[in-house]
Amino acid sequence: MLLTVDGLRVSYHTDEGIVRAVDGVTFSLDRRETLAVVGESGSGKSTLALSVMGLLPKTARVEGSIRFLDRELTTMREEELRRLRGDRMTIVFQEPMTALNPVFTIGRFMRDIYLTHREGSEEEALSLAREWLSKVKVPGPDKVLNSYPHELSGGMRQRVLIASSLMLEPDLVIMDEPTSALDVSVQAQILRLIAELKSQVEASFIFITHNLGVAAAVGDRVAVMYAGRMVEVASKEEIFSDPMHPYTKGLLRAVPKVSGGEVEPIPGSVPSLVNPPSGCRFHPRCPLADERCSEEEPELRKVRPGHWVACHKVSG
């Protein structure tokens, strides 16, 4: 296993109380595998990404274990973690407009990534940067290398960031809603690009999105998160053909279809993470909920090979 996350809990102390952003998440990721993590805002998916990268604010409390390349990340010294970040594990953020330092050219940015982690010359760094810019289909890589971020469009910047995240051939690439801030047409291009690049590199991907369709387009497996927990993990085929958790089912029904038909929103709203509902966190919104659901927290358990669900109402 490349990455094993076990019983991860991330909490913040705030004036309103303890916010449990991630509350007991367990999963593992194979080499060359892509896990799509789907969830609404506040489901803890971005916190999950940041905790793997070790980028949580200092005020966050992290419990549980994150093993990456057979090393424990939660107790690792910042200095060692820093050497892994950008080299063995990289992240692409949601907002390409602000993720690049406005005072550096793209070339300087990419060169710095290389020189931070590799012994090598500037020429080597720039030629590698140029090579990766053409791999992400940036027209005129040489011109882009000499451009400042504000001279590029959002889609172009996101391509630059994707190229930068893959340039050093990392083992793990986390993409935190990489297309959500882009125009729909650009989104499709970037998704196609990511799907293409996946087959060319050795990296594993964690792809975070709030969009089930996007998750299906890029993921091998899909994990559905709700209020800080994973409620269902399955292959992308099964999550669509045979969703088991009532929340996953609800999500699928809430997606508008081109063919028409009713869109059924899930009643209620995402619960507060300060004071989450007892038992199963979804029970106040769940059509199947009974007394047990409001008292006992369901564990994520295997209902069939490769399909995990956390629900009392699912048998098997």
């Binding site: 990268m53 980028l55 820093r82 050497r83 892994l84 970040r85 950008g86 080299d87 990289t90 992240i91 953020f93 907002e95 407009m97 602000t98 993720a99 690049l100 330092n101 406005p102 005072v103 550096f104 050219t105 710095d112 990534i113 931070t116 982690h117 000499n146 400042y148 504000h150 001279e151 960031l161 930068s164």
Partner: protein
């Protein structure tokens, strides 16, 4: 030369050159700086040597600005006074900027109790009226060119700390700072190459405005006898000396006064213009 710059810098420059405040202010400041730098070459007389027999002469063809009580040429003293003001204001603002940027930037970046302590100290310093703080320092360390510089630098310092801290706090939250961490940049590198350069725009503007205020403060200290000491020519001190002949020989205070007025106006215009061009960052 202009063509070698990248397009955005060129755009900013072009915008700056079109700005009337920058053009007028820039011209005045340039004249002031040139006057200060070239004082030994353009001043017609030695500013410290007078001829008592030619004391308090009104402007005439020999002395276009007249002479002071010691018979020294007022024009030469005004020109040399520019040099004194130039040294005091630029050096003190420079010191204050360097110190303020480092302290304010680090305070914002590190945060926690260090930030808390720095902010409180700066608040205390800022609660003194400008000139009072400088007066206080000047009174303790005594008069003299170096001491005026220290006093004026100290009075500028808390302002730069506060501005830098505010600006850096904003930049610190930008996604590219987190992205820098995500590519494995060290704290030192993030501070020096991400935080500092992106927080400097308001500092540039404020430094220009503070230069004007520093010239005034230095002149004020000298006027009160706590600043630059005779015989070094200094505008505030010249005006102070002229108090005795306020009515009988007004040219002795009018010329340094006008020089002071125009110079301060020039820096303020330049600062305002820079503010227009730099601060509402046109492109993010």
């Amino acid at each position: 030369m202009l063509m070698e710059l990248d397009p955005s810098t060129r755009r900013t420059l072009r915008k700056a050159l079109r700005n009337r405040n920058i053009r007028v202010g820039g011209a005045i400041v340039a004249a002031f700086v040139l006057m200060g730098l070239l004082a030994p070459f353009i001043a017609p007389y030695d500013p410290t040597k007078g001829n008592l027999r030619e004391s308090l002469l009104p402007p005439c063809s020999k002395y276009p600005f007249g002479t002071d009580f010691a018979g020294r040429d007022v024009l030469s003293r005004v020109i040399w006074g520019a040099r004194t003001s130039l040294i005091v204001s630029t050096v003190s603002v420079f010191i204050a900027v360097i110190a303020g940027v480092l302290v304010g930037g680090l305070s914002a970046y590190v945060g926690g109790w260090i930030d808390e302590v720095v902010t409180r100290i700066v608040d205390v310093m800022l609660s003194f009226p400008d000139i009072l703080l400088a007066l206080f320092v000047a009174a303790i360390v005594g008069p003299g060119l170096e001491n005026v510089i220290v006093a004026v630098a100290l009075y500028n310092f808390p302002q730069f700390v506060r501005i830098m801290r505010g600006s850096a706090l904003q930049v610190k939250e930008m996604e590219y700072v987190e992205a820098a961490r995500a590519i494995g940049e060290s704290n030192a590198s993030i501070f020096a190459r991400y935080l500092l350069p992106n927080s400097l725009a308001p500092i540039v503007v404020h430094a220009t405005l503070r230069t004007a205020a520093s010239i005034l403060t230095a002149a004020g200290l000298s006027f009160l006898g706590l600043g630059v000491q005779p015989p070094i020519p200094e505008w505030g001190q010249m005006m102070s000396d002229a108090r005795t002949y306020l009515v009988t020989a007004p040219h002795v205070w009018i010329f340094p006064g006008v020089a002071l007025f125009i110079t301060v106006l020039g820096f303020n215009l330049l600062g305002d213009g820079l503010n227009d061009v730099l601060n509402p960052k046109m492109e993010v």
